[in-house]
Symmetry: none
């Protein structure tokens, strides 16, 4: 397995240090599951010493049955002048109870003397002591040599001495951090090569993107012999971000024949990247290599002509290899087989060549063009397939609704209310409700009306509500995509709505959520008879 | 001048081939002026053969008095089997009447035989003939060797023969295009070096970013002897984009001592990038190296501590060198010293031990507890400080507002409208507006009312609107945090509001945005007197 590269994802730790990113415990658990399924080797999930909230996460993550990834907690070497056992950060790191511990320490002499203000000798002791402590507790220990490249350029002997201290302390892997992100690919190559030649312990690389060269720096380090790449899946991180692992994986696995993740997972690269963006509630850059919406979009006439004759004329890889798709921006052309499996879930008799398949693909393209995205909203997706296959009938008809927001409002500072009139098989129901915001009021009023006919809806409640502005140029007039996650205590499902009006987008997703629940119940109850 | 690098910007040509980008003639002229002022050497402004609208632009651009840049038009070699003089694309290229002409031609044998379907010999003739034609017309002629690196890897002799044909035709510069964007830095270095050694004519590089390595590839080509870099200022282009010139310029000029643009212009790098984004009507990525809003933003506590002691501890360059700024993000991990620097921006006399400092910190804690987050919303943060320090007085009083959403609504499927009554120094104004969604309607109605008193608000528009649900367990009843980004074409500022009601949260952020703008204008105008 000489070609094996360990992918180490730090979205939940270094990624959470990015501007605008903050994860709830639920978000973190979802990201862990997504990354594990995709097949990364390590997931660095927090710094328990700096963020006490992380401890709840570490308790809960232990209960997940992960298939590929080991969970790592991150922390500093002990502070100067105390023993490892006395150090409170070390203690909370230990209490995270993870199989892997990442310890970062200083390898740039200037940082030792001027930032943490200790002696060069004491810093080496801090590294050695801390690593040995965790090794004795039976941990797999990774040493992150912070600012290694800047350190090496300033004082190569000392930078190498920091690594030696880590190796003496028992490090299972020494990782060279390009912390400030300003190094050039050729220097990363040369310095990494010297380290690989000097030590028997495996070497890793941890680049940042301040010079826009993080991906190249990761690749050059691997060419020089590094076997672990630390980054974040879609490039979150301090300042300009960490190296984007989705790009690194594409480059190494598809072009350099390295083994980063299980082969069969490669075609889920795009989906994985989009799911992480969705959980983090940020838009994935359209231009992101391999996984961006525009990564295989062709606009120039000669490019479209070329790709139509031979795809590699203007594409560095086939987009299907990473689960992305080719798009011709002038004339939309369809064609995909991934959708077929979902169609066959509803009707196993439909094939690739059935006219229904083309109709559904056309309908999906139309909706995608409007701003829909189905990665995180498979229940809406299933409803669309049902509607196209005639396996659907509405559960109610809306007569009308009205929502009102007022400030000030009577005795209160602010009020939102909704009234709604629905019709179920000729029977009319009018209800009204107040809520925390217009969508909440509408949700309450709608369910109050429908529970009269469908008591099972009493079990349902919404567990998540996400709003994404699609076309930021227009700000409050932009299109919004609303994602709603619902549960009845047994299943969890997600639905989506798109509109320029947030209320209308929410309404579409609410209706889908309710209909999905009712169909699901019918299937469970009556499928044995059908 | 051995260290001189010619920066060749193709935002208006290759950049316009990006998804979502289209420029009016006015936009194009504005971008030309911006790039010329900044100091690039060449501006490639269109492909008259493929876009007849470009001819109007070429007429008008001649009337600009440019100080640094030469305007280039872009076109193909003549078609096979006809003479140069007969070729209609060549004719329109000539009619653009630019001092510089860029001719692209095939250098990958497969493209010659399978895409443009001609013989390898004829392609060489097409290159030679076309270049000679334009040289005889007195043009400076740049040859873009399309797919040069893929071509070289497939058939090095033929790729080199294509360059020889260009040189024979009289090329002033031969540019190696990494058209499909999938090459690696070491191969770009080696192949470029071979070309530089083989020809006396200057060599250029034109990389794309499909492997996320375009910047590194440009740098490596320069290290190998290339003296022209073709890209787009903020990375627009087909698929994943062209190389980002703002990053290349930062790397080459600040770190490698090359002379890309006039020294004194370097501190306008950020402003130039933002202006181009503004003209193109897209948001600049926060994480863009050198020029992004987050490029020098620090969130981790140890990073903030380090930068406070010595900026180069966690910054690859001083942000002032490129006209960007250092920011300490407000988060759970930010310390007291970060807050103090912001307080002192409003009142320099307040110290760490002033009672006001404690009051402000208490107020911030209270707001954070309610779900506020100030990283990314520094304008609201500044307003809070002003309110606590008594440096604030409201610009208007709200009497009340009301928003209504209806479905169906009259002749329309859906309608959102708002009415508002405000009072400015005793004068009352009532307005109403319809909008795309209730927040948009409220925004329109509020500004319509206030523009009567504050005409400067007409310059303001919202550029981003973000909604984050804070406590997802409650879904539509959860607290929401709304972030609004505004601009008046000169500055960009962000404000935040939190409430269980999305309308109220948006209202809070809208009011802050307007007040921040008005205070900012007063400061600019009257500070010299105070």
């Amino acid at each position: 397995m000489a070609n094996k590269i360990a992918i180490f994802d730090s979205t939940l730790r270094d990624g959470a240090q990015a501007e605008g990113i903050s994860f709830s415990v639920e978000d973190k658990l979802k990201i862990v599951k997504t990354l594990d399924e995709f097949g990364v080797a390590y997931i660095e999930a927090g710094n328990p010493g700096s963020n006490p909230k992380d401890l709840e996460f570490f308790e809960r993550v232990k209960k997940l049955n992960l298939s590929n990834a080991k969970i790592a907690a991150f922390g500093s070497t002990r502070r100067r002048g105390i023993s490892v056992e006395e150090d409170s950060n070390v203690k909370s790191l230990l209490s995270a109870d993870t199989p892997v511990v990442v310890i970062f320490g200083k390898s740039w002499d200037f940082h030792v003397t001027d930032i943490i203000k200790t002696s060069l000798e004491e810093n080496l002791e801090m590294i050695k002591d801390t690593l040995r402590f965790f090794k004795e507790k039976g941990k797999e220990v990774i040493f992150d040599a912070e600012h290694f490249f800047d350190g090496y350029k300033a004082n190569p002997e000392y930078a190498m001495a920091a690594l030696s201290a880590a190796v003496e302390g028992g490090a299972d892997c020494i990782v060279l951090c390009e912390t400030n992100g300003g190094a050039f690919p050729n220097e990363v190559y040369e310095i990494t090569k010297k380290v690989v030649e000097a030590f028997e312990v495996p070497v890793g690389i941890h680049p940042h993107n301040d010079g826009g060269m993080a991906v190249a720096n990761a690749i050059m380090a691997v060419e020089a012999g590094a076997i672990q790449v630390q980054g974040t899946f879609i490039g979150f991180g301090e300042r300009c971000g960490n190296v984007n692992l989705s790009t690194v994986i594409g480059n190494l696995q598809l072009k350099k024949n390295f083994d980063c993740i299980p082969k069969e997972q490669m075609c889920t690269l795009t989906q994985t990247a989009r799911r992480i963006a969705e959980i983090a509630n940020v838009s994935l850059s359209d231009r992101m290599p391999y996984v961006g919406k525009s990564a295989f979009a062709h606009k120039g006439g000669m490019h479209i002509d070329g790709v139509s004759k031979a795809s590699h004329s203007f594409e560095h890889i086939n987009p299907e290899l990473v689960g992305n798709e080719r798009r011709f921006l002038m004339s939309e052309v369809a064609g995909r087989s991934t959708i077929l499996s979902k169609i066959q879930k509803v009707n196993p008799n439909v094939t690739k060549d059935s006219p229904e398949t083309k109709e559904i693909i056309d309908r999906l393209k139309e909706l995608e063009h409007l701003g829909y995205q189905f990665e995180g909203a498979e229940s809406t997706f299933e409803l669309i397939i049902r509607k196209q296959l005639g396996k659907y009938r509405p559960f109610f008809e809306l007569d009308h609704f009205k929502i009102i927001g007022e400030h000030p409002a009577g005795n209160e500072d602010f009020s939102s209310s909704a009234m709604i009139k629905v019709n179920v098989d000729g029977q009319v129901e009018i209800t009204a409700a107040e809520g925390d915001g217009p969508v909440n009021a509408l949700d309450k009023a709608l369910r109050k009306a429908l529970e009269v006919f469908y008591p099972a809806l009493k079990e349902v409640h919404l567990t998540d509500y996400k709003v994404r502005v699609l076309d930021t140029k227009e700000a409050t007039a932009a299109k919004v995509r609303v994602l709603i996650e619902s549960t009845d205590g047994e299943d969890i499902w997600t639905t989506v709505g798109v509109s320029t009006d947030i209320i209308e987008a929410s309404w579409i997703a609410l209706v889908d959520s309710i209909e999905y629940k009712l169909i699901k119940d019918i299937e469970k109850k009556f499928k044995p008879y059908l």
